[in-house]
């Protein structure tokens, strides 16, 4: 590591992570936070004195990174290729891109301690909590809701969304959607996670599996059976979903649909099939590298914004990269059509407010993680009360901190604009460059550094 925070930085960061009520914090707390970063520090809180202007710097940091060979864990390559990481001084190691760990290897590789940040699903990491280093999800990229019942195109099938659009209530829409399957041939694997989703869909619709012709088989077979028209509906893992949707088959009901109709509560079983995909780090690393974590969070948002604004360009970067690591043959138009829209929509900074600060949203982070905890308690992985959602994520706190930095930047930029009027010469040039740097960082969603530069400009 090229950058290590001072012990005092660490201590105050610990303190600020311990603050429970950050989400509803005051400007005073924001100043304390800014203080905590140790950057432009106390000067912001003190009355202005004629101290020389200190230009903040963004340190160069290397982060040992691992992704996974799937669409929802390779979007980081966009940040690499578009320079979003380097813009905030971060280089991914090894090789500038990190490593790729397939599903069944991510736990042990994370446990090895050689990876500092891993793109992963928090809910899939959670069962291994006792064997992994204590970890936290600190940045959310997307919500995986990709388990879907797929049906054949051009058969007059309607999806849950279409029934909802017709004005049906969530419950009625589920019943209507599932009723289309009665007496039909339905293929699915014996896998527990997928079976959970199926059971939920049937029970929400007041149906049982006896009302369909079940074909239980591994994904390759049910995929082939769908393609050859020998079954009518199918649920499988992501690869088979992608294959079938690329071939024109349509999702009629997804785990996301079920979840959106659910109660916003950790006891909602419908939420158990939705995962928080994002960046996970060992607690120990996070505590010592909060600055880096905040900067990575800004890169996360920038990537998601890029995908949101330019899905075609994003796919043109991500898809060939995924193909080169996984050997897949996805075409560039698949991601904008399927992945970015249905399978795992990447959430922009603006969209993330809903998952961190909207208690009525069933997708709120504490409900999603809370419902997963319930599942693991239910199946005996955890003892009741052993874990709370707070044990697995700090993402909401980092989000809140960044919102505070955003506000602080606005305040300080206004102050700096006032100050500029009384300045001239070299000083004016310095402050002006600080202001424009702060504005640029603000536009790049790195509110943390923006606040540091704005603070320096306002001091």
């Amino acid at each position: 590591m090229s950058y290590t925070p001072t012990p005092s930085t660490q201590r105050s960061l610990l303190r600020h992570l311990g603050l429970k009520a950050l989400a509803i914090t005051t400007v005073g707390a924001a100043i304390a936070l800014l203080d905590a970063t140790g950057a432009s520090a106390a000067t912001t809180a003190l009355p202005h004195t004629a101290t020389p202007i200190v230009t903040p710097t963004i340190p160069q940091v290397t982060v040992n990174f691992a992704g996974e060979p799937y669409f929802d864990h390779t979007q980081y390559i966009i940040g690499v290729k578009e320079g979003f990481f380097s813009n905030v001084g971060i280089t991914l190691a090894p090789n500038g891109t990190g490593i790729i760990a397939p599903n069944d290897q991510d736990d042990p590789i994370f446990a090895s301690g050689r990876v500092q940040v891993m793109s992963a699903s928090a809910q899939l990491f959670m069962p291994a909590v006792n064997t992994l280093p204590k970890f936290k999800l600190f940045a959310v990229a997307d919500l995986f809701q990709g388990y879907a019942i797929l049906g054949r195109p051009h058969h007059g099938l309607k999806s849950y969304a279409q029934f909802r659009a017709q004005g049906l209530s969530p419950r009625a829409a589920i019943v209507a959607t599932m009723s289309q399957m009665k007496g039909q041939r339905f293929g699915y694997p014996a896998e527990a996670a997928i079976k959970g989703f199926i059971d939920l869909a049937f029970s929400d619709a007041g149906m049982t599996l006896a009302q369909v012709h079940s074909v239980v088989a591994p994904d390759p077979e049910t995929t082939a059976l769908m393609e050859s028209g020998r079954i009518d509906f199918q649920v499988g893992g992501v690869p088979s979903h992608l294959t079938l949707q690329e071939a024109g088959f349509v999702p009629i009901l997804t785990s996301g649909d079920l979840a959106s109709a659910a109660q916003p509560s950790p006891t909602s079983t419908a939420l158990q099939a939705v995962f928080n995909d994002g960046w996970v780090a060992p607690d120990s690393w996070l505590k010592g590298h909060m600055d880096t974590a905040l900067r990575m969070l800004s890169v996360d948002w920038r990537i998601n914004q890029f995908i949101h604004d330019h899905p075609q360009a994003a796919s043109a970067i991500q898809t060939p990269f995924l193909n080169s690591v996984a050997g897949t043959k996805f075409t560039n138009d698949l991601a904008p059509r399927v992945v970015y829209r249905d399978l795992d929509p990447f959430l922009t900074f603006a969209q993330q407010k809903a998952i961190f600060q909207d208690p009525r949203n069933p997708f709120e982070v504490q409900y999603l993680i809370g419902s997963a905890i319930q599942l693991y308690v239910h199946n005996g992985t955890y003892k009741p009360g052993e874990y709370t959602w707070r044990d697995f994520t700090d993402a909401d706190q980092l989000y809140a901190a960044m919102v505070q930095y955003q506000r602080q930047t606005q305040v300080d930029l206004a102050k700096a604009a006032v100050r500029m009027r009384s300045l001239s010469g070299a000083e004016a040039r310095t402050v002006s460059s600080l202001i424009s740097r702060a504005k640029q960082l603000y536009a790049d969603l790195d509110f943390f550094d923006a606040a540091r530069f704005a603070g320096a400009a306002a001091a």
Binding site: I99, S112, A224, S228, T243, N323, V325, A326
Partner: protein
């Protein structure tokens, strides 16, 4: 006395081998044809046909670099590239494991104290089921080439160290006495008598691991390999490319055969002094 001459007999054996291989291939083809038509499916299938396995070569092109167009030449290049990466790991692991195993075995045979201290643990090593070590190695060295190398090296070591200790104990005492009466000191005896005398036993041990060498490599490449045949296989498994999985399996079979032949040739040359019965 057999009426046929040696080269003649060899030629006949070869004919049989080829004939049985062709029959096996035909059987495979028929079986895949039957299972595929029974399901009337295209695309992914449970048993890919030999032709689809061949066709899978071109699909490997993407492994070369992002955006590589899919052609047979690129596919072959990717196959070759990943083969080299894997072969390097396999060879490195075998050499490292053999070197450590032989050295440790000789040290054990050299000193009674060392033997008393470590022979127990070393013998235990042999009883560890290798595949059970995969998660452990993954946790220690996952995602690095060294982890894979270390895994293979460990497997080789565990076999070689035992063969070495046993072989060193079985060196005929009259050979040691002969060297002593010819004036050789202890270290020279180790170098010029014990070491060459254990070669056949060590080679015998190595032959066992070489036979499962490529399988070991595949297991090793489950340790988060970023490239190599195992990586290709794992990804194909993840994305249900059955033809590609079959292709890698066939390639592994071919490589296993080639490696075994090469090893046998080398071993036969190295132990050409051994009386054969």
């Amino acid at each position: 006395m057999l009426a046929t001459s040696r080269p003649h007999r060899q030629r006949r054996a070869l004919t049989y081998h080829i004939a049985s291989l062709v029959a096996l291939l035909a059987f495979w083809w028929l079986l895949s044809y039957y299972t595929n038509s029974a399901h009337i499916i295209h695309g992914a299938s449970a048993l890919p046909s030999p032709l689809s396995v061949l066709n899978a070569i071109a699909g490997l092109s993407v492994f070369l670099a992002p955006g590589t167009p899919t052609t047979l030449a690129h596919g072959l290049a990717a196959l070759w590239q990943n083969t080299l990466v894997s072969a390097e790991r396999l060879l490195g692991g075998v050499l490292l494991g053999a070197a450590i195993g032989i050295t440790a075995g000789l040290l054990l045979a050299w000193s009674k104290l060392v033997r008393l201290l470590v022979q127990g643990p070393v013998l235990l090593v042999r009883t560890i089921p290798l595949m059970a070590l995969v998660p452990l190695f993954l946790a220690w060295w996952g995602g690095t080439s060294f982890g894979i190398l270390a895994f293979i090296a460990f497997a080789v070591f565990s076999v070689v160290v035992i063969s070495t200790v046993e072989a060193a104990g079985n060196v005929p005492p009259e050979l040691v006495n002969l060297a002593r009466t010819l004036g050789a000191a202890r270290f020279r005896i180790y170098r010029t008598v014990i070491l060459p005398a254990i070669v056949p036993a060590v080679i015998g041990g190595l032959r066992v691991v070489i036979g499962i060498g490529w399988a070991l490599l595949l297991a090793g490449e489950y340790l988060g390999a970023q490239n190599g045949l195992g990586h290709v296989l794992i990804m194909a498994e993840d994305y249900l490319y059955t033809a590609r999985m079959a292709l890698i399996v066939v390639m592994i079979m071919v490589y296993t055969f080639v490696l075994d032949r090469l090893f046998t040739l080398a071993a036969d040359w190295i132990t050409r002094w051994m009386p054969k019965d």
